[in-house]
Subunit: 154 residues, 2 copies
DNA sequence: TATTGTTATACTCTATAACTATA
DNA sequence: TATAGTTATAGAGTATAACAATA
């Protein structure tokens, strides 16, 4: 009985190429996205992480800094300067909570409320350009797979 | 003729949530992967980017620093300290090219050649754990979509 | 002129430890 | 004890500009 040999050996033991590692492609795609974001919002001085903080405050008005950190996966220490800058620029308001003197309730200022929808629309438009090699369905698939990755890693 | 109303309005104009942005999930997943890598290889002092440099040298023996930067999407300036550290640790060798005095041909040392397969296997094993919420097919799909994203963004 | 390797520099993101004030 | 906001600090990754040597 003759041995049947596989025509193609896609992954020899101990021979994984960089191209086969998910982490490699994650980094490349994430860097591409970050750079694109910065390029697009250079004039506004808006960066990816601060933008996500702004969105989180908008989506959870009256939330706290610690809660946003839990939602976005940031360290409490690292959101301080972001919020301080937004405060200086008049984009957020902080109100102390009468029932708990430790916390500050965060909300967008009127100016931020008027600016954010336009910024969001530009972010969506930007993503459509950056991900032009993917169909709308593939973009949703990508989102869903990525979400399962990081939510499963928490 | 009565108006037919949609039961669900998934994305009102100007109302994109953070959860719908690909970039957000890209960052979360990439950070999760990077942190996991660091945790896994803390003892070896091996970080994700240097690891990818090591792999690139292994996969393209005799290549140059500039060429690796083009392959991995790094700045020429940022690979200098990585190669210097590998040199100090005896993991790479640099040979000047007789035909072009500007360039250095890079290759792995014997020690690196003996260590790398084990490291690679652990990286693969690590990814299998990190991406346990994804089937093997979904992991391949993810890789393929991510590759199209960053290759289309260059 | 263009490329290689390099130095210098700066910025963003992330992580950890520790403090204070409140609960 | 535990939590919220904060300060200080460090490290990794990335980006830009410029230089000398070589092509």
């Amino acid at each position: 009985m003759p041995m049947i040999q596989k025509a193609i050996e896609p992954d020899v033991a101990g021979e994984s190429r960089l191209e086969d590692l998910v982490g490699y492609h994650l980094r490349r795609a994430s860097v591409a996205d970050m750079n694109d974001f910065v390029r697009c919002f250079r004039a506004e001085g808006l960066r990816p992480i601060p933008f996500s903080v702004l969105c989180a405050i908008d989506e959870q008005p009256g939330t706290t800094s610690a809660e946003i950190c839990r939602i976005l996966g940031l360290q409490r220490a690292n959101i301080v300067s972001i919020l301080a800058e937004f405060d200086e620029r008049g984009l957020i308001e902080r109100h102390s909570d009468p029932n708990d003197q430790r916390i500050q309730r965060l909300s967008l200022s009127a100016e931020a409320k008027s600016l954010l929808p336009g910024w969001r629309a530009r972010v969506v438009e930007r993503e459509e350009k950056l991900f032009h090699t993917l169909t709308a369905g593939e973009r949703r698939t990508l989102c869903e797979l990525l979400a399962r990755v990081w939510k499963g890693a928490e």
